[in-house]
Symmetry: C2
Subunit: 239 residues, 2 copies
DNA sequence: TTCAATTCCTGAACGCCGTGTAGAAGATGT
DNA sequence: ACATCTTCTACACGGCGTTCAGGAATTGAA
């Protein structure tokens, strides 16, 4: 046993973690190169000079590996969105929304396969585990959006169609509790709005990534920009 | 040769068309039961009491079959949307938009695998042909949305963020020509708005179908309704 | 240093898959 | 009745995820 960083970690464990990491990065490279379908245990093993069966020492099944990949990729997306948001001062809630949304789109364009992995059918026969594959990252994304909406709520609240139609019980208990704790006084309708904002940011990007916009519109960025301008204005803010 | 419906059609051709149709419907049934991945030539052949190779007499390759399925499914979606729209009188453009959007969501909920087939990664190694697999249906969908927006344009036009930023050359030539012919005087910004409306209708439905909304919100229909109310209001209309 | 235990990996197998090819079986039109 | 054209079977090839018995290497202790 060697103790590095005051954590007992054997050489075996180090090598094991390293191999597990190598499997993941090769899988991501394969995905980036040939689409999610290119992620096959045999291809990964071939790339590593191993046999396919050897991977089963690190991931119980192929779906477990995919789930881990989704977690990693989703986390990187949320990291990018949060970083972009935090580069805009608190005093500009509209700008923070814009920054978040643009970061999501740019990340998606830079990692289209990652976007498919998170928001589409990831891989041939993949069945996500209960509760979704990357619950934590998704909660972070939701929390981020709720925060953006919370900052706009003083003006946005009165503009909503039917703010009285929601109760906290309409939402995931964890999300509801976290929101109530982090933004006391914020009504449940704000969470509904946050989810709607999510959908609004998602729609055009999903269409674009899956190629439904490419032939029809030559400048999807302009469409997205206008959509966000409209969104921000509908929240009573300015960009 | 027998002439039915004043069209010369041999018994061979009839049987052939019938078998091709049976292949399609079995493929759709397999998809509905086990997801798009369940569409395998061998499974279809098994279901039909045939060998996989026999299907190659009807579809040159598996991707050809998938492409045909996408066309069928997409057409059924657009049919549903158009029918719902036409059930609302012309004088109620907001209601027509609402009807279209609700029809899309309900169709998607009733045919989630079909939605995945159209808007997601359809099937393991599927590569869509150039121009998209179901160009005609997609054009019909776009035309429908443009028509909905055109009806709202008298009021919606002045509410758009940056209507001067688009030219006809920014869009697919076919779509542009068709729009200019069908709605003379309509500016290209209206097409941009139609595509944005498409994205807005798509976002929440895509999130819901792919399971990202299910755990977070217990009533996605309410979210969608509010989103559409907001959309229709943003066009200067009422539902 | 020696030795048993643990861990990691190979190699082969099983049953799926899409895709070709060769040839049999059958319907068709003359 | 016969030649043609279609449709289907049978088999092969390589790829996939997964399992399993066994070999090889590393490990911690004797």
């Amino acid at each position: 046993m060697s103790t590095v960083n005051s954590v007992a970690v054997s050489r075996r464990e180090r090598l094991r973690a390293q191999t597990a990491q190598e499997i993941k990065s090769i899988a991501l490279a394969l995905m980036a190169g040939g689409g999610p379908d290119a992620i096959s245990l045999r291809a990964i093993a071939r790339e590593m000079g191993m046999t396919a069966g050897a991977i089963y020492s690190y991931y119980a099944t192929r779906d477990d590996l995919i789930t881990t990949l989704i977690e990693d990729v989703y986390t990187s997306l949320v990291d990018a969105a949060e970083a972009a948001r935090d580069a805009v001062p608190d005093g500009d809630p509209g700008g923070r929304i814009l920054a978040w949304a643009q970061a999501v789109r740019e990340w998606a364009l830079a990692n289209p396969e990652g976007f498919r992995l998170i928001y589409g059918d990831p891989v041939p026969g993949y069945q996500p585990p209960e509760g979704g594959p990357a619950q934590e990252a998704e909660h972070r994304a939701c929390a981020g959006l709720t925060g953006l909406v919370a900052a706009a709520w003083p003006r946005a609240g009165s503009l909503q169609p039917d703010g009285r139609g929601y109760a906290w019980s309409d939402f995931d208990p964890g999300l509801a509790a976290q929101t109530q704790q982090e933004f006391p006084g914020l009504p449940p309708a704000a969470v509904a709005l946050a989810l709607r904002v999510w959908g609004r940011m998602h729609g055009l990007v999903a269409l674009e990534i899956y190629g439904h916009l490419r032939t029809l519109a030559h400048d999807p960025a302009a469409l997205y920009r206008d959509e966000l301008t409209d969104l921000i204005r509908s929240l009573g803010l300015t960009a």
